[in-house]
Subunit: 241 residues, 2 copies
């Protein structure tokens, strides 16, 4: 088994966009596709690696781009939230760029366009929720330490995407009342949903580049990382069986 | 592979107690033990079947009794909560009966007494939490649609048992604020904990004898039943590896 990577440049509003798509090269039939939605920094090697981990599970995965080709940040950047802020201020544009990213994935030859899911981290978790809220064509989505504020457009009704929300209990961006509000929102939307809350875990609990303890409520948590990935694997297996 | 059952009568405060212990009979070494804590009705065939399902996973499982030999209820009983109410009014006695049940399991020849967990349903979920709160010798526990009110004795500090709480979002016995309070309690107790909340699921979501829709907020839910059992299996595997 060998994992192949390919840079994928695709169009969309404000594009072009540049992502990395990856798959196991012995695949000869169409396989389920998984969109990987990056965090505040945009598409980067950490997302490509998550995509490769999904390829090892048998999926074709696209670490997508919603900021635009060449627009990336690092933890050391000035104004690190600049590109994210632009999209937080225009959730309709974010939705349309996510739709373009999904179209790129679904149009890839080895992807079964009827069997697509999305996962995302931090801001990317919000992207997953917005894909579901907007009724874009995914069967299911997984948010890892996502952010739960609603967009300014109305949710589809019902929300047909199945959702797994992996939540760090100590995440200061999403205190328990926001988690409860999300549960209420998804219940009202008739979505098939689960929230897995992990005690002691903070924001960015899957992110090995964020050391635990440097900033209270932020940081990598080995237990929550391992458990949430296992929960995602089970969720995708259930979705695509 | 054959699953063996044996009635186990054991002593304890207010006893004797009568449970059913079950295991796979090709086991020749000591195996992890799992205590199964029944719901409001007391030990019954449904608990024995859950214990058998655990035996199929490689554990020795005891469907235990905290009401006392011969003291059982059915859904048709008058005063169905009578025996549960007695123990809800004396959580110290409940703790001591749980300790006796654990001792019976840990003393069974094929059980490794250092590797024991507990699971429980409804009132039995409360039992699991109380075992952890009291510092009784389990490595981990799983509550299915348990009840979260605290006992009148102080929790051990830290709570060393790892905990998985499988929670029905629509459970009227445990609305979201009680779930949040449980998360706060377990965080304060330094426990390694997870709460998995299942949208649309009510109290008794694992219980096929409680039809969905008869009473709002109560009833079997196939998705939550299947997903919580899988989460439990993963949790026990992690615990005993």
């Amino acid at each position: 088994m060998a994992i192949v990577r390919q840079t994928l440049v695709y169009d969309g509003p404000g594009g072009p966009f540049e992502g990395v798509i990856t798959w196991e090269d012995e695949v000869e039939t169409q396989r389920p596709g998984v969109l990987v939605c990056p965090n505040i920094l945009g598409q980067k090697e950490a997302d490509n690696q998550k995509a490769e981990d999904l390829a090892k599970l048998g999926y074709v995965a696209l670490a997508c781009d919603v900021f635009g080709q060449g627009r990336r940040k690092t933890r050391e950047s000035s104004n690190v939230s600049e590109y994210m802020d632009e999209l937080d201020a225009d959730r309709g544009l974010l939705r349309d760029r996510l739709a373009a990213s999904l179209a790129a994935l679904r149009g890839f030859a080895s992807v079964d366009p009827a069997r697509v899911a999305a996962i995302g981290f931090c801001f990317g978790g919000k992207c997953v929720l917005d894909i579901a809220r907007a009724g874009l064509p995914i069967l299911g989505g997984v948010s890892f330490h996502g952010v739960y504020d609603r967009p300014d457009y109305a949710n589809v009704d019902p929300i047909t995407a199945k959702l797994l929300i992996c939540h760090g209990w100590e995440d200061p961006l999403c205190p328990p009342d926001t988690m409860v509000a999300l549960g209420q929102e998804l219940t009202a939307g008739k979505a098939d949903w689960q929230i897995h809350a992990y005690g002691h875990a903070g924001h960015a609990f899957t992110d090995t580049s964020v050391p635990a303890g440097r900033t209270p409520g932020f940081g990598y948590d080995e237990n929550a990382d391992r458990r949430s990935w296992k929960a995602m694997s089970d969720f995708l297996a259930e979705l695509f069986l």
